[in-house]
Amino acid sequence: MLEINPGLVIWTIITFLVLLVLLKKFAWKPLLDALEKREERIRSSIERAEKSAQEAEQLVLENRKKIEQAEIKSAQILREARELGEKIKSEIIDRAHHQARHMLDQAKAEIEREKEAALLRLRSEVADLAILAAKKVVGDSLNEDLHRKLIDSYLKDLPKN
């Protein structure tokens, strides 16, 4: 069983060498190349994925910062607007108050003036009436001018209201 058969050794070597040459060209080279290419592709795609994940993270951070800034800004704008509104409101109210007071004053003055005028008219009316009545009572003994003088002096002695 342990005897060497040189023919078999030669056949083994020939077969092996033929197989080696054949496979080296048609099997191992394409297989190893494909393997290497795929590994390279996987490595690069992992790198790319890592890079884009990093970018995304950075973007998220940036966005968060931007949102924070925007929130701060919007709060500021709101506060300013409210302040402005408050100011305008108080101004309007003030002005309204002022105007109202002004109008009231004007009205009061008007009323006073009207009252004065009315009193004046009333006074002359009353004098006329008194003269008319006196004329009826006294007849025409007294002339109109004397009467008017008398009444005026009397009316002056009356209290104002």
Partner: protein, 292 residues
């Protein structure tokens, strides 16, 4: 009367001896018959028939008779080579076409990747990649030769010491080539002296040269013995049926034989791996030794 009795006894004992001799001869024949399945022969068996290979007249080179007649083991060597070629070339074609390997392409690639990452690079470094085709061919060729012996009517070429010898001879050449290419011929020769004082060279050089041969020799014997061993165990187990001469005993040896067969399946992979791994290791040692 006495003589007749004696004669009778003699006859009796004679027949007894004869029958026991026949018994012994018969059981021996069973083993010889079964061992034929392990040994090389010039016939090949197919179901219900067998073919003879045409004899090729031996040629005489330097006084060595070389018989190049095709034998069973040569035949299965070629079948194995053919299977390896078809499987790996188909796998390579498929892998080139698709981005993601699957099926046979994936199967072959698993082995290729394992050999590259777990055997070649750890043992030989990145320089070893250029010896990948040799190591891959060795692995797949031995693996298929081992496996084909487990197929009914198949024969294990690697259970023939001439076949493993041929493979070891190539391994020997490859180990030397790797060392010489890496270190240069001068360093390679210097390494044979073992770095000792010149006075010790007459002792050291033969030892180192012997050392070069023991490694592939061990490869040759390891593969041959492992592949033969399993077959002999199976033959012995099956032989038990013929020795006991009863079919009722058959389930026990057959159960054991099935177990051994499964073990053989594992051994087929293991031995292909070991042969490749050790060849790679020895090549790597030769490539590194310039550094010490």
């Amino acid at each position: 009367m006495n003589s007749s009795v004696l004669n009778n006894i003699d006859q009796h004992s004679n027949t007894l001896i004869d029958s026991s001799a026949i018994h012994a001869q018969h059981s021996e024949n069973v083993f010889v018959e079964l061992l034929h399945h392990i040994k090389d022969s010039k016939t090949i068996e197919v179901p219900f028939a067998h073919f003879e290979f045409p004899p090729i007249p031996p040629i005489n080179i330097f006084g060595i008779q070389i018989d190049l007649t095709i034998t069973r083991h040569v035949f299965f060597l070629w079948i194995s080579a053919f299977i390896v070629a078809i499987v790996t070339i188909v796998a390579a074609r498929k892998n080139l076409k698709s981005k993601v390997p699957k099926g046979i392409g994936n199967l072959v690639e698993v082995f290729v990747e394992y050999i590259r990452d777990e055997i070649v690079i750890p043992n030989m470094g990145k320089d070893g990649i250029k010896y990948m085709p040799y190591l891959l061919t060795t692995f797949f060729f031995i693996l298929v030769m081992n496996l084909i012996g487990l197929v009914p009517y198949g024969a294990t070429s690697t259970s023939n010491v001439s076949v493993t010898g041929g493979l070891a001879l190539i391994a020997f050449i490859m180990i030397q080539v790797a060392a010489i290419k890496k270190q240069g011929f001068k360093h390679y020769l210097a390494h044979l002296t073992g770095g000792v004082h010149w006075a010790l060279w007459p002792i050291m050089i033969p030892i180192e040269i012997l050392g070069l041969f023991t490694k592939p020799f061990a490869l040759c014997i390891r593969l041959f013995a492992n592949m033969t061993g399993g077959h002999i165990v199976i033959v012995s187990l099956i032989g038990l049926i013929f020795i006991f001469k009863t079919v009722w005993i058959a389930p026990i040896p057959i159960a054991f034989a099935v177990g051994i067969n499964i073990l053989e399946l594992f051994v087929a992979f293991l031995q292909a791996y070991i042969f490749t791994m050790l060849t790679s290791l020895f090549m790597g040692l030769g490539m590194q030794s310039s550094e010490h």
